[in-house]
């Protein structure tokens, strides 16, 4: 799917400090410094869905025991994650598995562009961490009722799933436990604002994810 025009979703871009308190860069610098000190076996990277996971009991319950680090930043789109990983966040660490969960904030980009952005991130991870395996998580449906973003996210998932098939170091994992009910609605018990997960929503996503990661960590990587 190479094209003549640059893909904005695959062009490393830091977040501009529009608000004025420098929080995005503070977080990035924290992560760079963490990667100097810590030795994670699993690295989670992505947007607020990754970041918020760290705030609930589920993180300590399921992922701390796997020696996991969390490099999630709310609001990040693929181009922001790409910039962060290309600018220090992968230096000095050698996790066995990188979990990548990003794409829902790529507003204005086509599914093809978003897939391209995700695949660019997978490539950067491969370049920096040649021995790590990357698990790309499906982007969840959003909004209370059916809407164009659900279609967009579903299309991204389809494209990414196909694209990683040919890659020995990467795989796609569908983590949607069935959030959309038969009447097409998503419950606020699962997503309190129809985008971000409640602790209950996280439990449904993370239990199978945890099992999958455990099985990956128990099995030695193929060379």
């Amino acid at each position: 799917m190479s094209a003549e025009e640059p893909n904005p979703a695959a062009t490393p871009t830091p977040c501009e400090d529009i608000q004025g308190d420098g929080r995005w860069m503070s977080l990035h610098n924290r992560f760079v410094s963490d990667s100097k000190d810590k030795e994670p076996d699993v690295l989670f990277v992505g947007d607020s869905l990754v970041q918020l996971m760290h705030q609930f009991g589920i993180w300590r319950q399921l992922f701390s025991p796997l020696h996991a680090l969390n490099f999630g930043v709310g609001g990040d789109a693929t181009q922001h994650v790409l910039w962060r990983l290309s600018n220090g966040e992968l230096d000095n660490i050698s996790p066995k598995v990188v979990v990548l969960w990003v794409g829902t904030n790529n507003h204005g980009h086509t599914p093809e562009q978003i897939c391209g952005g995700i695949m660019a991130i997978v490539q950067v991870i491969k370049n920096k961490l040649p021995h790590a395996r990357t698990v790309v998580l499906s982007i969840l449906p959003r909004g209370k009722q059916p809407n164009p973003l659900r279609e967009r996210n579903a299309m991204v998932n389809k494209l990414v799933q196909e694209a990683v098939l040919s890659l020995p170091h990467a795989s796609f994992l569908n983590v949607d436990p069935g959030f959309v009910h038969s009447n097409g609605s998503i419950s606020h018990q699962d997503m309190y604002d129809y985008l971000h997960l409640t602790p209950q929503g996280y439990q449904a996503v993370c239990d199978p994810l945890h099992a999958h990661l455990k099985s990956m960590l128990d099995k030695p990587a193929e060379n």
Partner: protein, 229 residues
């Protein structure tokens, strides 16, 4: 604060569905629906600082027992909260206390305008709920190190400190002192992204708030209620 110009932070405004999934309106609609069924004694209203609180244990432990409802929406400004309250989120409920926490997202407005917007919401609340007490939470500092938004939020609190006492039923509760260390930094253990509170951060500000609410609820005479069954 009175002037001939309209304060943009006091103009009611819904959030436009730019992203395309209608989530803001879905949340507002849900709150309007909740007003039909619930009989809260305490109503929390505001932005993500309010909304996220409900996702942590502290809500179930301290505020659910007070029969509290949570009408927070992430990203909301004073304009958005004003619109929501004027468009159904106060119908059929008679809380004894309203906790208002909003203003940190008013990026386009000056500190004085933001304070004016908060005051306008407090005035609307006293008009619609004449018997309710209003607790306005001071804006928290934000950002890892000192920066203009910290100064702005502190200035908003300063205006509120002067203006709120003029509304007999409203008071300011400023919990911002908890969060800035002597070296000027805010730590991630309190605010995971230097704006939003962690479970630990919520615990430290929820205690004084809960104590105040209990005090107010004890002072408020019980109203006669129609029997439920």
């Amino acid at each position: 604060m009175s002037g001939d110009e309209v304060n943009p932070a006091a103009v009611p405004q819904p959030v436009e569905d730019v992203q395309g999934d209608g989530r803001w309106m879905s949340q507002h609609t849900r709150f309007v629906q909740e007003c039909k069924d619930a009989e809260p004694d305490v109503l929390f209203v505001g932005d993500s600082m309010v909304q996220l609180m409900q996702q942590f244990e502290v809500w179930r432990e301290l505020f659910s027992p007070l029969h509290a409802l949570n009408f927070g929406i992430g990203g909301d400004t004073t304009c958005n909260v004003l619109w929501r309250l004027q468009n159904g989120e106060l119908e059929n409920i008679r809380p004894k206390v309203v906790v208002l926490w909003v203003g940190t997202n008013n990026y386009e407005h000056t500190a004085q305008q933001v304070a004016g917007g908060i005051l306008a919401i407090a005035q609307l609340l006293t008009t619609c709920l004449p018997k309710a007490k209003i607790v306005v939470l001071g804006l928290l500092p934000r950002g890892e190190r000192p920066n203009p938004l910290r100064e702005k939020n502190a200035a908003v609190n300063g205006f509120l400190r002067s203006w709120l006492p003029r509304l007999g039923q409203a008071q300011l509760l400023d919990v911002s002192g908890e969060f800035v260390h002597s070296d000027g930094t805010i730590i991630q253990q309190d605010m995971f992204d230097f704006l939003h509170l962690t479970s630990t951060g919520y615990r430290s500000m929820a205690k004084p708030l809960c104590d105040l609410l209990l005090q107010i609820l004890e002072e408020t005479p019980e109203e006669r209620r129609a029997s439920l069954v």
